[in-house]
Symmetry: C2
Subunit: 446 residues, 2 copies
Amino acid sequence: MKKLMHLNGFVMFGPMNHSVGSWLHPDSRVADSFAKPEIWQDLARTLERGKFDAIFFADTLAAFGNYRNRMDEALTHAIQFPMHDPTLIIPMLAAVTEKLGYAVTLSLTYYQPYMAVRKLSTLDHLTKGRIGWNIVTSAHVAEAVNLGLEKMVPHTERYKRADEYMEVCHKLWNSWEPDAVVADKKTGVFVDASKVHPINHKGKWFSCPGISAVEPSPQRYPVLFQAGASDAGRDFCAKHAEAAFGVQLTTRALKSFADDMQGRLKKNGREPSSLKYIWGIQTILGGTEAEAKRRHREFNELVPYEGGLALLSGHSNHDLSQYDLDAPIEDIEVEGIQGLLDIFTKMYKAGDLGKDKLTMREVGKIYGATIGCPQIVGTPEQVADQMEAILDETGGDGFNITPTVMPNNLKEFVDEVVPILQKRGRHRREYTGDTLRAHLNQDVCG
Amino acid sequence: MKKLMHLNGFVMFGPMNHSVGSWLHPDSRVADSFAKPEIWQDLARTLERGKFDAIFFADTLAAFGNYRNRMDEALTHAIQFPMHDPTLIIPMLAAVTEKLGYAVTLSLTYYQPYMAVRKLSTLDHLTKGRIGWNIVTSAHVAEAVNLGLEKMVPHTERYKRADEYMEVCHKLWNSWEPDAVVADKKTGVFVDASKVHPINHKGKWFSCPGISAVEPSPQRYPVLFQAGASDAGRDFCAKHAEAAFGVQLTTRALKSFADDMQGRLKKNGREPSSLKYIWGIQTILGGTEAEAKRRHREFNELVPYEGGLALLSGHSNHDLSQYDLDAPIEDIEVEGIQGLLDIFTKMYKAGDLGKDKLTMREVGKIYGATIGCPQIVGTPEQVADQMEAILDETGGDGFNITPTVMPNNLKEFVDEVVPILQKRGRHRREYTGDTLRAHLNQDVCG
């Protein structure tokens, strides 16, 4: 029996999802309607019809200001901004769906663990067990300064703090015994006080004496996703996550990420199968290969290079406006993103980018279009083939699919690719469970 | 033309709304279903049918631990605990209603202003302008210790900090010009960067250089409610609020609160009519006066005295277990709640409490039943009479009605009292506006 392919829609609660310039596409409906619930409710219904595991919301709290040391390019091109609070749209999506899960990004830096647990457990109740948490530690300076932080926690310290954070969260999730809520009108006892256990946590970073404010929820704790790519991030992932979200441009890089994680899991005494690998991709479909390629080209051409460079400047915390836009990038050394530039160079030399030169301007356009994810281009059959191949070659478990054009791109995927994957026994025809954890842990179509 | 009466349902997102022991009532449906959306969605539909302004969610973040210096009584009797996050249920209610507003309690202590603005503005978009904010500064020690605060901000400092907090919020709400979002696919400009203005706030308590993460929402900022009863709290209310939520046991005390606020408004250069007064009440209905009185008695008898004392201990930050339960309260002096005890004593002496003795045990029962709000008891006509009389005598504008039994008590009110108020020209038959601010500012039925 073939391994089931897990599918999530990977979006942000703003006009950009995630490709720079995607809102410019004639078919994009996101520019003037993203702040209201309807477009998202339609998307949720579509992905539930397509038996996806979840909608996965990335998040960021402030506009990037590193490119030219100002926000202008981030604002002009809507670079992950404006960005509304994704925890608050999810209940509106849960209200119109029954099975689809919702993974939400919450930062360890801007919520105390007690508050994060309260939010996630409340959501788990309201969605009846359909919540996942994308754990991020936040390295974004513009967030820190707007949220009153005097300075960023240094990177390595950040993950030690994150370990303690997760310890507090799990203590809180376990502070109520499963049968602590009695709610017995006869005896007048709502909570059996002998069955809740104050955690009395006092550590280096956190102090929390009490118990969770929320009674035990259907999943007890949300499905834990993590996307750390650094050494410390990968260690954190191997310790805490149920699913690793990997963003790498090539199958080789994805495979090397998965291989690397195997060793880290082992060090933590975990079975190789206890971590799922979810890869970020884009899919671009056409009725024919030629049509798909044309749409691919047209989509990538929408990207304003400055938008892509503003995004990459934000992600790398480095002002990329200072380099000659038209010099070959082989002549440029850029701290922080050299690995990415090397991959672009290799792809360029292999002819994979379809470019006749590779300059900083082109890097902006490529990064802006892909945000570092592979673009899978072709007929529905060809896209299904490539997705299967990526999972088979990397040992991956599924995909976070980020839409090129919102929401049609994901709708096309559901209408055209999902039936093929179902026919091949790689995608479920019906949900077999009710919770996001049940969806994620379903390994075969059954 | 008569003044329109504003009506809100006043609840908490937990098993207790707000009366201690209310969950014990045979008709209460809240004990095992409060964590899921359905009971609240039913309530929202009911209150929208009754043309209420809003559902008003109180909130508290942790179990009280002052009574006997432990949480046991708070847990046993579900004293404002468990308490799930109300910001997250509101979108599910907005999803099934079109006009009803939602006021939510957010603490100035546990969210940075940048974060509060993001949440409130996101909610304002999602609800299409139906959000209010009950501004609280948080004096609850159990919240502070669980949320990593080393010590509470002292009371007077707290309101200075709160003034600066509101300054930052308003700066953020005004950081985008109304037409800053262009979203023009032709020019490729999403936000006109010349029309957003970094606030560069650097004060004693807060530092926030940027702009709101959320584009301007339908109401621009939420309707501002405030319930401060202390001297500093009332000054804050007179400076910042659009509606004062007053909790006082008697009409005289409500009137004196309103009179006192008039002077404070004047000091702030505000018109007397620029602040609405919303009074907390309970209503208990019966087909006959005798039936209503019987239901009143039965309801009050449900209250476990220890639950009431645990609540009052929490509210007064004072362990009330140390007093003789059965000594007359005239013989007891209790720091922090002497004013409340004096009112109880006066009511007791006037025969208003229907008690033949007034002891600490009885105080627990009365406070637990009423949480300090008048109980309006009678036939629907009599209840409507009393509500009109309270507004007319106090110059008040409306009520936060806290249910005795969830949700039937509010359903009965909508079915039986609302039509009477409508017939008398005191309550709207249809919404005339779409936003919560429009509801609140509607002065006559039109």
